[in-house]
């Protein structure tokens, strides 16, 4: 099973989809088919590396440090599998939605290219290639976030594009400096050669990469663009962005800190950043009164938890991070999908204009409640398991400060989830605002595809709890491997 399949399949499908033009039924089935194939390929890859082995390919058959390496280890495979599941679910959701006009010429090709770019960032073993994969994802996200071309979308899209371009420029700068210092951009080669350079220089590079990836991952204090730009996009777009894009940044932080800069750990810096990210994110969420904006601030807050696990620099902590990332991708995507359903049903996501949906649509209330409680970490849902492992590993090391912040933030998370619950589902039903022209009669109020894909993800999150033990073991094996850069190097460069 070649590790390039999750990159090539959506990429090819994007090209075909563009060529198909306005044959919508054909395009939709092509997209679903490609994303199913993507999912199958990712799961097969996961099966292959489950015992801790590594799959590598050198593009063009050039030997390793010269040719571009493609490397899949357990961590990459886990991320690939979860990401492809989300990509498929959100794609089905988008087909059902009336607000993302999936009949525009560009939605399908761009979405598939985004899928290809996300996969590429997970499988690449080359620093510059990671930049290219990021750019592929970003350019697609620019198009998706401004797809409607409305005034708020352009306003918020501009912020997003500018900050992303700045991050990309910093990334090129960092790559240039690394190349000047070591003469290579192959990650395995870098893991060896970076050890030989001046420690002060290495520290500086490490922090520079932390800033670059930190902007993508939206960690404190580099998160301001996220709650600004995500809520204005169409619901499926926000759902997939919330689930995947920041997590690509988290993946890059974990990879660079464990593989490239494994010898000097910025434990204190990361723990402090994590605590601040959690706190500021959740406080921002409490101030908002729009479902999508509340959820967007929660992304920031949750990123803090992931950085917390990494900042501990123990196998248990990193395993908890891997586990947490998977849980978060699943839950956050689902929550945004429910947010989209609320919007689809009522035409707004503003809490002050909503109410009483518990009476009008009790099933939707259940679909919201499960992931919302899970996000806050209420037992026995997946968020509880994820936070428990994180906090246990924090206590083992004695990071009491960050642990108490994490616990306190959980309560605030629960508080802001109850705020959505009270605003949207409780109270007397509001008179539903008139649907936009033309949609009233032609569309069912709850498109079955949207509800179906959301319900499937909620079911998956419940399954996640049942299978928590084997999944955690998987995360642990991934973490053990991440702490053995020598194995990675050997797999790529040969003994």
């Amino acid at each position: 099973m070649t590790p390039l399949l999750p990159v090539i399949v959506p990429f090819g499908a994007a090209a075909i989809s563009l060529a198909l033009g306005r044959r919508h039924a054909l395009r939709r089935s092509l997209g679903v088919l490609a994303l199913v194939a993507n999912l199958v390929a990712s799961v097969l890859l996961l099966q292959e590396v489950r015992d801790g082995s590594v799959v590598t390919v050198v593009v063009g058959d050039w030997p390793a440090p010269i040719g571009i390496s493609v490397v899949v280890d357990l961590f990459s495979a886990i991320m690939l599998s979860v990401a492809s599941l989300m990509l498929l679910a959100v794609f089905v959701y988008a087909i059902g939605s009336s607000r993302t006009d999936d009949t525009t010429l560009f939605f399908h090709p761009v979405y598939l290219l985004l899928a290809s770019g996300v996969s590429a960032s997970f499988v690449t073993g080359d620093l510059f290639n990671l930049f290219v994969a990021f750019e592929m994802t970003l350019v697609c996200s620019y198009v998706l976030i401004t797809l409607g071309g409305s005034k708020p979308q352009v306003r918020h899209g501009t912020t997003y594009v500018v900050i992303s371009l700045l991050a990309s420029t910093l990334f090129v700068t960092a790559v240039g400096l690394v190349y000047a210092a070591t003469g290579t951009v192959n990650m395995a080669d870098l893991a060896v050669k970076l050890q030989a350079i001046d420690p002060a220089l290495r520290e500086a590079l490490s922090v520079l990469f932390l800033v670059v990836f930190g902007i993508k991952a939206a960690i404190f204090p580099l998160f301001f663009w996220l709650p600004d730009s995500y809520p204005t996009a169409a619901a499926p777009v926000t759902a997939i962005f919330a689930g995947l894009l920041t997590k690509v940044g988290v993946y890059a932080i974990v990879r660079s800190q464990t593989l490239l800069f494994s010898q000097d750990t910025h434990s204190t810096l990361l723990l402090a950043t994590a605590a601040l990210t959690m706190t500021v994110g959740v406080l921002g969420a409490i101030a908002q009164d729009d479902v999508k904006r509340i959820l967007s601030f929660h992304i920031v807050s949750q990123i803090g938890y992931m950085i917390f696990g990494l900042g501990l620099f123990t196998v248990a902590g990193l395993a908890a991070t891997v586990f947490y990332v998977v849980h978060h991708i699943l839950i956050k995507t689902t929550l945004f999908m429910v947010g989209g359903l609320i919007e689809e049903r009522t035409g707004t996501a503003a809490l002050r204009r909503l109410g009483g949906m518990l009476h009008t649509s009790p099933f939707l209330a259940a679909l919201f409640l499960i992931p919302a409680l899970s996000l806050a970490g209420v037992p026995p849902l997946s968020g509880f398991v994820a936070k428990l492992t994180l906090i246990q590993s924090g206590l083992e090391v004695g990071a009491y400060m960050t642990v108490s912040v994490a616990l306190f933030v959980s309560i605030l998370t629960l508080f802001s989830m109850t705020k959505i619950w009270a605003g949207v589902f409780w109270g007397a039903p509001e008179a539903p605002p008139p649907m936009p022209e033309g949609l009233e009669s032609s569309r069912p109020r709850f498109p079955p595809l949207m509800v179906g894909s959301t319900a499937a993800l909620v079911a998956a999150s419940l399954l996640f709890v049942v299978a928590a033990a084997p999944l955690y073991q998987l995360g642990q094996r991934a973490a053990e491997f991440l702490f053995e850069p020598a194995q990675y190097v050997e797999a790529v460069l040969g003994p």
């Binding site: 501009t158 500018v162 371009l165 000047a180």
Partner: protein, 134 residues
């Protein structure tokens, strides 16, 4: 000497680009980003070692210029070209919609800030009323 001049150019480009990024006019931000990316590309070129060496094709025996940073810079140029074009299109669209080149304040942020201020004032007034009543 050439290397020093190039390094200084990189520094100036970064400084000017950063300054322009802090402006509120979208057109200045675009130019600022363009300058920054030029600086980054020059930096990539500088990372390849001393200037003045022959290109790798045709360099016989002697030291050749490192082709890798050139390839990287070419890729980066193409990518930033595309992104800048997109940003310009976005800026034009923004100008069509608002007839102004400035990046506006976030409407939702402003609303939430005023909402909090309103609530605080109401709370204060209530306290005053309570005191008067007692």
């Amino acid at each position: 000497m050439i290397v020093l001049a190039l390094a200084l150019t990189v520094a100036v480009l970064y400084a000017a680009g950063t300054y322009l990024l802090f402006q509120r006019n979208l057109s200045r931000i675009v130019i600022g980003l363009a300058l920054l990316t030029h600086g980054a590309n020059l930096l990539l070129l500088l990372a390849g070692g001393r200037a003045g060496r022959p290109p790798i094709v045709g360099a016989e025996g002697g030291p050749a210029a490192d082709p890798v940073p050139q390839a990287l810079a070419l890729t980066a140029i193409v990518i930033t070209f595309g992104s800048t074009a997109f940003l310009l299109a976005l800026a034009y669209r923004s100008w069509l919609l608002t007839r102004s080149d400035e990046v506006e304040d976030d409407v939702e942020d402003v609303r939430i800030a005023t909402m909090t201020a309103l609530r605080e004032r109401e709370a204060e007034e209530e306290i005053v009323v309570d005191e008067e009543a007692s």
